[in-house]
Amino acid sequence: CGITYRQPIYQGNLLDTRNVEQLQPGLTKRQVLLLLGSPSVADPFHADRWDYIASERTGRAGRTQIKNFTLHFEGDTLARWEGEYFAKRDEELAAEMRKFGNLPRERDRDRRRR
């Protein structure tokens, strides 16, 4: 029912549009890692495929939104990629997370370390 509070559940990576646009065939796996970070799913039976699967369930409706962004490799170089990913919405996420609030950072430990 609609009034139950459902804690937000996020899965997968937050891809940055600027980085995704820099994808081009021929990139090595290391270069892709630098651009997009580690894929959320690297299936053991598909060594030539990285899946950046991301899902999000927020608000009270309880519907989960899923977006799959898949990269295909030939050997070590990127061949093609397809699928969609969540657009950049850092401000919205920051506001959502602010609801949880932060604990004060341990002050002395930081200072003494510096």
């Binding site: 509070y5 996020y10 899965q11 997370m97 602010r98 949880f100």
Partner: protein
């Protein structure tokens, strides 16, 4: 002893006593047939020394046989410590074992030297500079030794003099507020703040730095500090020489670097504006705020570095806050450690951070608060180690230390109210580690019998819908409960459902049926109560019926004379709607947050007596300083009849009461509010409670005592009273008392002892300054 290299035909070991030849061979890097030369010999000797078994190792050659003569170190037979008071014997023994000095171990004279140094250092750290440590070794047969360490601790050196030189703009006591080191004062026996320790002093000097840097003294510098001790090692003197420099104002402050979020939004987090006096505290506060925002959305290694440019002429400072977000980080796995009894799911369902998801500091902080609020753990610490081999993945490791989260008391429970309770009470908040709450009570004593079973599952569904039920049967003679004289036999069955509506709020519904047999005694029960029953439910036959024989005429039928008891059976089915919010940051020792509950209970139409009751409990915790917490609380209750009891107040057996350990301390339990005499002859004015209750209070909670967080001392002001109904409310009648209370979460259950002095009382109030409850009373 040079010898030319030769091939080893055989190896012979001499001087062995305890160690077997096999052991030597297993550590010896040389075998038969090897070529033995000078450096191989050196390697062999070093290898044998490293085993720690031998005092001396010599290599000789007899023809082609390599002869190894060793002198075994003696074994330690017994270690005795004499004269240690400040540090317990088994702590010392553990320390010695770590250095390799334990019974049965091999004895190495070098260790003894290190032990003396180590113990002297430990005592010096406690300010005991006069300590003298004399270890003595007595040789025994079979190459064994006894070790006795004679410790003379001596008196701890006390800080007599702390002097800050060069402070022009502030007084010394203002600067030294909050320091851990202090000169001897009347509190020193407890806080030990006059005992010198280097760590404490360096911490205090850091506070001195912050004191000035937070007030704009950019050039502030502690030129030098001197620590000296009196010739008799009894008094310590600390001198800190400072140069304050001038106050600087901020000329400009701007955020630079990669801010991920829009620049204006991040700049809003900078609390220091141009024109304000420079303050390092505000700079750190601002950089924390920015780091928090970024680390909440994946940038776990975000860093903000303030880069100052000081303009000495007109004493201004321009600051660039250089933001480095670092890599966006994923959480790979969440692992729990230390939950030997609590199931993994009970912890995992409190987590707001998920696996295979982007890192969020806020989610992790929120999870820590929720885990602490369960009350199952003494400590909850969360670490986020990097996953080896990846640049952007971390694991979340949650270390918990479990606490005895239940009370199991057999037979003995005592509260001044109920006298000696013989009861079996089991209440376990984390029953078998499943996170469900179970409470079973079988109780009987002078005035009441009771059976109570309740079960509550906070996570009936994964989303946090809670379900619970309880069954209760009890016979109460309220008279001995300081309340008006009547007995209630009550049976009830109830089911409770809870529904979270936000992160901290939840609403709930409970439905239940119950039967209440009210028995009144004419002449003992106050007449207005009996009248209420008669007016609402009609009269009932009196019982028991006596049959008095007529003495003169024995065979005439006895004359029935009714007793003076009357009994009413009140059946009701009731429901309660409630809303509750709990944003406290800890279960036992909250320092921040509020807990409040608003409930509307109604005896539904069709019940014998129809009435409703509103109740509101509120408690808020304010952190005043690092150690002091202020708590403000209120407990309001109001009820009236409706339907078949329209125009009447709340039925008397549902009345609110006040006074006692859980409401206004300093007054006997349940004795506040209106009272009535049962009959003109009776002397005791029986308190009958009221349908309108207003109780509140303020409590100042002191730092934890006996360095466990389960014991707390507090000073309180309680105010409140109960009124027949809202019309009769009169603030002049509110009673008040001030006092001190000790609350201790003992293993067998909570113990609360309070001493209160009533400051607003009327004659006829029944006072009780010392009150305590021991073991849980349902």
């Amino acid at each position: 002893q040079q010898f030319e290299p030769f091939t080893v035909a055989d190896i012979r070991v001499e001087g062995l006593q305890r160690i077997t030849a096999g052991t030597v061979f297993s550590y010896l890097p040389v075998e038969r047939g090897d070529l033995m030369d000078r450096n191989r010999a050196g390697v062999a000797i070093r290898a044998l020394f490293r085993t720690g078994f031998f005092n001396d190792v010599r290599l000789d050659r007899q023809g082609d046989i390599l002869v190894i003569t060793v002198e075994e170190r003696p074994a330690i037979n017994k270690i005795t410590l004499v004269g240690n008071k400040d540090i317990k014997t088994d702590d010392l023994m553990r320390g010695l074992r770590d250095i390799g000095l334990a019974e049965g171990e091999t004895f190495d004279r070098l260790n003894l030297e290190r032990v003396t140094q180590e113990l002297t250092r430990q005592y010096n750290n406690r300010g005991k500079y006069n300590v003298s440590i004399r270890p003595s070794v007595t040789q025994l047969d079979r190459n064994r030794v006894d070790i006795t360490i004679d410790i003379k601790e001596g008196k701890a050196a006390r800080i007599r003099h702390i002097n800050i030189v060069g402070n022009r703009n502030f007084e010394q006591d203002e600067i030294r507020k909050g320091w851990e080191s202090n000169t001897s004062n009347w509190l020193s026996w407890y806080r030990r703040d006059d005992q010198y320790s280097r760590e404490k002093l360096s911490g205090d000097l850091e506070k001195l730095n912050s004191f000035y840097l937070d007030r704009g003294y950019v050039d502030f510098n502690v030129e030098s500090t001197q620590v000296s001790i009196s010739p008799d090692n009894r008094d310590m003197f600390i001198v800190a020489n400072i140069t304050e420099g001038e106050v600087y104002t901020v000329s400009s402050i701007e955020v630079t670097g990669e801010t991920i979020l829009p620049h204006e939004e991040i700049s809003k987090l900078v609390f220091l504006q141009p024109g304000m006096t420079f303050s390092r505290g505000l700079i750190e506060f601002s950089s924390d705020a920015i780091v928090n925002v970024l680390s909440n959305i994946g940038y776990a290694f975000a860093r903000v570095t303030p880069i100052p440019e000081v303009d000495r002429e007109n004493r201004t400072i321009a600051i660039r806050m250089f933001v480095e977000p670092g890599q966006r980080v994923q959480v790979r796995r969440i692992v729990f450690r230390g939950n030997n009894r609590t199931s993994d799911e009970v912890l995992r369902r409190e987590m707001r951070q998920f696996e295979s998801s982007w890192y969020s500091q806020a989610a992790i902080d929120r999870s820590k608060v929720r885990l602490q609020r369960l009350g199952f753990f003494e400590t909850v610490d969360i670490e986020t180690p990097e996953v080896p081999g990846t640049a952007d993945q971390v694991d979340v490791v949650v270390n918990v230390k479990e606490r005895q989260s239940g009370q199991l008391s057999f037979g003995l429970g005592y509260s001044q109210l109920a006298g000696l309770i013989t009861s079996v009470q089991l209440s376990q908040d984390n029953f078998l580690g499943t996170g469900n709450r179970i409470a079973v009570a079988v109780q009987n004593n002078a005035y009441s019998r009771r059976f109570d079973f309740s079960y509550f599952d906070p996570y009936f569904t994964d989303e946090g819908i809670s379900v619970g039920y309880n069954v209760r049967y009890s016979e109460f003679n309220r008279g001995d409960f300081n309340v008006a004289q009547f007995t209630t036999d009550n049976g009830a069955v109830q089911a409770v459902f809870g529904l979270p509506i936000t992160e901290t709020d939840s609403v709930g519904l409970s439905i239940g049926i119950d039967r209440n047999d009210i028995t009144t005694v004419d002449g003992l029960t106050p007449p207005s109560l009996i009248q209420y029953m008669v007016d609402t439910m009609g009269d009932r036959a009196r019982f028991p019926v006596f049959c008095l024989a007529d003495e003169e005429d024995p065979d005439a039928p006895c004359v029935e004379t009714p007793g003076n008891n009357r009994k009413w059976r009140v059946n009701a089915w009731r429901s309660e709607l409630f809303w509750s919010r709990d944003s406290r940051n800890h279960f036992f020792v909250p320092t921040r947050g509020t807990v409040q509950r608003l409930g509307a209970e109604i005896a539904l139409p069709g019940s014998d007596l129809e009435y409703w009751k509103l109740s509101y409990q509120y408690s808020r915790y304010w952190p005043i300083s690092r150690a002091l917490v202020l708590n403000t609380n209120a407990d309001i209750g109001w009820g009236r009849g409706y339907g078949n009891t329209k125009g009447f107040d709340l039925p008397f057996f549902e009345n609110f009461y006040a006074g006692g350990t859980r409401s206004v301390r300093g007054f006997e339990d349940n004795t506040l509010g209106p009272c009535e005499f049962a009959s003109p002859l009776s002397t005791r004015c029986q308190s009958i409670g009221g349908s309108f209750k207003t109780v509140g209070g303020v409590e100042l909670i002191f730092p934890t005592l006996f360095d466990t967080d389960a014991a707390r001392v507090s000073a309180f002001l309680d105010v409140g009273n109960v009124f027949r109904n809202t019309r009769e409310f009169d603030s002049g009648d509110l009673r008040a008392s001030v006092g001190m209370a000790l609350q201790w979460q003992a293993p067998i259950g909570p113990i609360i002892i309070s001493y209160a002095y009533p400051i607003r009382k009327k004659d006829g109030d029944r006072l009780e300054r010392l009150q305590f409850t021991f073991g849980t009373v349902f």
